[in-house]
Chain length 960, copies 2
Amino acid sequence: MARSKTSTASSAAQARPSKTTGRSKKKTPSKKPAASKSKRAASASPVSMTEPSRGSRRYLFNFGADGADGDREMKNLLGGKGANLAEMCNLGLPVPPGFTLSTEVCRYYYDHGLSYPRGLGKDVLAAMKRLETAMQKKFGDPDNPLLVSVRSGARVSMPGMMDTVLNLGLNDETVEGLARSAGNERFAWDAYRRFVQMYSEVVMGVGAEDEHGQSPFSLALEELKEKRAVSLDIDLDADDLKGLVQTFKAIALRVALRSFPEDPMEQLRGAISAVFGSWNNERAILYRSMNDIPSDWGTAVSVVAMVFGNLGTTSGTGVAFTRDPASGEKRFYGEYLMNAQGEDVVAGLRTPEPIERLKETSPKLWRELQRIQKLLENHYRDMQDLEFTIENGKLYMLQCRTGKRTGFAAVRIACDLVRERKISRDEALMRIDPEALNQLLQPVFDPAELERAKAAGRLLTSGLNAGPGAASGHVTFNAAEAVRRAGEGQKVLLVRIETSPEDIEGMQAAEGILTARGGMTSHAALVARQMGKVCVAGVADLEINYKASSLQVHGRRFGEGEFLSLDGTTGEVFEGQISTAPSEVMQAMFHEGKGARGGGQIYASFKRLMGWADEVRQLRVRTNADQPDQCELAVAFGAEGIGLCRTEHMFFGENKIEAVREMILAESSEARELALAKLLPLQRADFEGIFRAMGERPVTIRTLDPPLHEFLPHSPAAIRALAKDLGLPAKRIAQKVEQLTELNPMLGHRGCRLGITYPEITRMQVRAIFQAACRVARTSKKMPRPEIMIPLIATREELQLQVRIVREVAEEVFEEEGRRIKYLVGTMIELPRAALTAGEIAKEAEFFSFGTNDLTQTTFGISRDDAGKFIPAYRKLDILPDDPFSSIDLPGVGKLMQIASMDGKAARPDLKLGICGEHGGEPKSIRFCHELGLAYVSCSPYRIPIARLAAAQAAIRARL
Amino acid sequence: MARSKTSTASSAAQARPSKTTGRSKKKTPSKKPAASKSKRAASASPVSMTEPSRGSRRYLFNFGADGADGDREMKNLLGGKGANLAEMCNLGLPVPPGFTLSTEVCRYYYDHGLSYPRGLGKDVLAAMKRLETAMQKKFGDPDNPLLVSVRSGARVSMPGMMDTVLNLGLNDETVEGLARSAGNERFAWDAYRRFVQMYSEVVMGVGAEDEHGQSPFSLALEELKEKRAVSLDIDLDADDLKGLVQTFKAIALRVALRSFPEDPMEQLRGAISAVFGSWNNERAILYRSMNDIPSDWGTAVSVVAMVFGNLGTTSGTGVAFTRDPASGEKRFYGEYLMNAQGEDVVAGLRTPEPIERLKETSPKLWRELQRIQKLLENHYRDMQDLEFTIENGKLYMLQCRTGKRTGFAAVRIACDLVRERKISRDEALMRIDPEALNQLLQPVFDPAELERAKAAGRLLTSGLNAGPGAASGHVTFNAAEAVRRAGEGQKVLLVRIETSPEDIEGMQAAEGILTARGGMTSHAALVARQMGKVCVAGVADLEINYKASSLQVHGRRFGEGEFLSLDGTTGEVFEGQISTAPSEVMQAMFHEGKGARGGGQIYASFKRLMGWADEVRQLRVRTNADQPDQCELAVAFGAEGIGLCRTEHMFFGENKIEAVREMILAESSEARELALAKLLPLQRADFEGIFRAMGERPVTIRTLDPPLHEFLPHSPAAIRALAKDLGLPAKRIAQKVEQLTELNPMLGHRGCRLGITYPEITRMQVRAIFQAACRVARTSKKMPRPEIMIPLIATREELQLQVRIVREVAEEVFEEEGRRIKYLVGTMIELPRAALTAGEIAKEAEFFSFGTNDLTQTTFGISRDDAGKFIPAYRKLDILPDDPFSSIDLPGVGKLMQIASMDGKAARPDLKLGICGEHGGEPKSIRFCHELGLAYVSCSPYRIPIARLAAAQAAIRARL
């Protein structure tokens, strides 16, 4: 039964448009960067604070010692920071008071020409009064001034992407009051000069850098230090800083052409608009596009009373995690610095102390922090990231949020929390980003060595992180050389402009693959991920010269045999060697698959988690594999069958390619059958290996798919060599290559079109499959379960013709072998027409497997090999929210899948549905597959754990 | 309002599958040709004549002097021949009695392993008894034998495609009886030897030809004539013929390994099965596939009592038409031959007499024939094709069917019948196959000269009849040479392996285009039809050598400047020159468009018919054109606007291509704008010309579509030449060409993707359009109506970005020019994703134009440029009932169009819908467009009259 097919799928499909509508209102594709534009506009239209609030909607939420208007459930409205500050107040924790302007204000601001809801100004005035009362200070009071910070805070954390203004409320008068009330003149003027700089940069648009890449403020500071002959900021005294404030104000006037505002209320209005404006600065936009955060979520703005960690030795500031964010170990972890503000910790001029030191130096504070961190973790039931400040011995919590963690920590923490009975298994499963599991599976560079390499300037360039992991090796420029060197025991990298099926053996032999062209689903990327190879693809500034067997990058030249190192997780390319090691989890999983025991803490957690996932999920997880060793690996990783075995990959094996070429060059059906007869035993042996590895798990085998020219050599030299081998005139081979050349091979003579024009090829392949299955059944006592899949079907008639061949040959073989094998015949749904006529096609097919790679190419009319020229521009312009070759495009491709699923099941209720495109290993796509009621997803071996987890999450989500 | 959208479109979509289901049951893709297989099977399982009829269904229908069981409405059941024989009986006309086995018997026969419905045998026996009574003869009676013919007859006429057996019932005994009753021994034995040969060939499978290409029967006849030293069959006497019968029977025994059946009943059973079997002989299958006749219609079999035209001088046979089938003139037209059987007329050994001769020789017969032909034409209300036999002075009607006619005759007869008040205007419009109008529009070879050329063996080869008409000219192998020679006043043909946009000027200069590669919608075919050029495409056995400037075909070589002649209506290629002339209608239409009067009888009829069509149709008809002269022609042919103006065609004009190349080679946005500034006035002048030609008719202009590499030279020499022109290093141009090269250009960086990555191109084009429109408005007092169309949209966001540019530039130009132009902005729907998300896209688009060429390519995943390698096999295997590039594929592409129309209209009720793919000129597709509720179709100028008629037919059909 399909699980809530229609409703979920259609709601998913509908969700997108409204999202993009929202976005489209906000984005102006203009040659000016959005940041500068909105910043200018923001300062032009600050919050009006005079009009009364009339709307029924609440835009402002207070928080403080007496509790809060909001709570942690209101992240969408208050942003993460605002919601958690409110929540901590509700828990009675010491939080400086403040108020939050909601994300709806942000949306209103952009939807109404950068203006604010009526009455908001009055609400802000009232909230500031509340702050004054709570802090017993007055905003702008020359004697005892209240200072505030103005901070951004989106629904999800976007660290460092948006702007913040600290120490707001200082002017030439209040600075004196602050000095008096703090009893520290230097502190007050230091706060003031920092505020003038920050405000000038964030609100007044004074560029942080001039044409020489230096901030005019830093320049002035440096000049002053030189004049005073001191090296550190702290060596400047109060008078120095007083002078600096005047210098900074002069800079602001010169650059922004208006004077620095002395009125604290004007400061506040300007800062709020600037922080809302920073939602659309360039780096925030980029970060959102990289992290799939919709543009219309908006940010909230929190205005918080300032507390100071730099008032003296009884003040300080720190950050901490309730568990180790790297390993996941259960220990309070963090660091602090006395007599410092937050930015000092970051600046790294002084070395912070580990948090445990507090136990000795301030046992009371330590106990309070311990109480708070436990309370917060128990309250949030997850590892928390805390920021605190100590002002004259009093602790203030400034922030609390769910802590970022490594994949290792994510797995361990989730398992530990279940054991501690803090969360359920389902919750544990939902806590982990499936992609984070990649970290547990890929080999890594030795971290220290990596640091050293970077410091030594060995980072050459970077490209697409197409195959995660780390690899070092000798550079080779063709498959033969890679195979040769690997045969000698060398570790090699295969460097190609782009790869083709001819390179398969070379890719297999290499540790990693580096290409100058192609995207995340280029041939190189696809095969690399399936093989579990490291791959950095599409490195545009790589100039490869095959003739000279060399590459150049930014003027540096590397010849054959020289060393490069590839970090497929980051896409970085390094000069020379860096040591790597396979991940612990991978080794343990593989050894356990082989019957051995092993693995440490992380593997134990990982295994427990996978077990829970397997209990929950309804989708089966298969693998795309076509070699027995790949199959074994996949089974160790949890594969429940093969969803796609590409028979053509086998064609490139030793002894095979010659027969394949003979077949292609055959001039008659008879000659072709002769060549095919040579291929038969070779293919049969391939299939025997696969059936043995897979036992009684289903094995979906696709008949020949790629255009035949891929199997022929293309360079004149290679053609001459082949001619010599086959005893044919080179001209004839060249003619055949020319004849097979197509303008658009993707839309050409391939897939079932080969099997229809050369039925003898299908016949040979099917014969090899059934002979292998019968032999394995006889010798292993296990019954192989072949599922034969016909590619690139557009019409029912095509499938009918191929199915007839399969059934005829099956009967012949069963008769010859004296035994029967249960099998299925089905088709890939990889052309729009197949999806649109699925009701007809299902009459011939026992299963459908969605080939979403090709389906995406034809639905969009985009060749993934050629998309590199415009996709970057598309991503930048936000035309494609996700790469449709990574995550299924729901409104287009998803709609076709929905049509095909419904019409197919209507025509044949027991139709088995699966997916074998690259999307089968991508969590969002897996969720959609679950909602569509598919029976299985299929992905490359290394993505199986990810798919198992994602399938479990989809099942849990559907229950919610 | 859409016209009965859902119901009709979906019923159309459903019609196909059931049809193919029927067909699929009948076809076995086997290496043996279907014909021989079914023939063997047929003789293995003749009609069983013993079982009684039990089914409630009626399979056998009698006809004779006392009326008939059927009538003319029952063509689907009785076949055309059977239905019309029954109808003539009902009209009381003299028809030999007989009976018809329905097409349902044929379907049953194929659906049940070549066996017959229970009881049919008994029905046949009863019907034979009826015949005996009517004819007062007995089947198999040695004294007064009844003879019958066994004839095929499908729902539509398939002349000569299926088998017939005459004189059935003769054996060694009955031949004597026939001799006696006819009083003519030679006649009887002549009938017998013909019967033995025909039966042996048709039923017993004795090959009509041996390995030397000669029939063993003809061989024996020739030997006998040699022995007797006579030259004509009629010089052989009765004894000669007696001997020949024995020889023939011996041949049958030797080849078929069984003796010739003497039992008349066995003969009858065998003949019926053989005729049903002939439905699936190779030539019938080919004919059906060429004429879009479904395989599951089946044939009926009529068994008719023999009457003889060769009993002596008072006997005879003839064929006649109620009007002239060539010219359509209203005159009784035909020929006859006394003392002859039908095949003698065909054999051409004796010259038949014109039918008017009967008036003198047999005035009574003439009067009767006159009465019958008038009666039949009035009865059928259409021109009839009659066959008759005179047996001893008595007239028998053997066949009556609607007569085939030329396009000229079709138009004239339809108009005349309206004037004679025999049919309504709607009926007249429905009578004419829109494609037949092609004949009226295309230049033709002088018929006599053509005959002579064929007789002289000047027919070299043939290919696809891609652009109708006739052309002779000097062969040229590149555009430059074609232009050069044409400039000198020579008539030239452009011969290319395939054409590309670079060849446009050469194609324009040539009389005709000949290509070795490409299908009916290849670039050559497409552009040729739009230009109205003769085109023969995809001539596989043409070997073109550009280097040597020569072509070879079947060993004959032609160099540059030699003469060839192309018949684009038949696809034939001739050596040397053959004179041509433009069609009368075309000349008249064009001159009248220019204000002159003219045109003869045919043109008058054509014009009247077009007027009726225009009154009836609801679809507007636009044209695909991009030159002012094409526009003028199209308007003369009745274009109501431009549906597709391809701006890139203009890019190849003189002076323009240089600027285009400069733009492509520009390294910065600034350099590109500089080059575009040069192009702007050139494009503006192009658009001015078009707006002037089109007046206030809407003009849909598509922004730049093809990949940029199409505008660059590719050969090293051309690259060097360009480098010299531009003062750039050749290497840089070569690099750019390399960089722009794509694996699948069809799915690459083209369409709106160009306008998005280079918005300055869109901006320049839109500026040129609006400047041109403003200038034409100022000087001509007519308001141009530009409709700007963005190609290859896949997502709403793409369109939004391009629409914003169009509107911005429009406002700029309107301000500069001080006047406003009304315009629309819309998009092509040519990718599946655009159709699937049409509801979203419609929010940005004021119109949709279905680009069914690309939509078909992506929906099927078939590149029309590369399809040549498998489409022939597909047509042969009946996988594609129609070429989807010629006629819209309803279940796939049609379904997408339906989704897009419905979702688009739902989102924007005033959305204007049209089509500009090649399908816009194809009648079946036009019908679908009407049903879908489109506002217009757009096609090449020469297809406009066809589209006008097809649109009228669609409107009439929807009313029925």
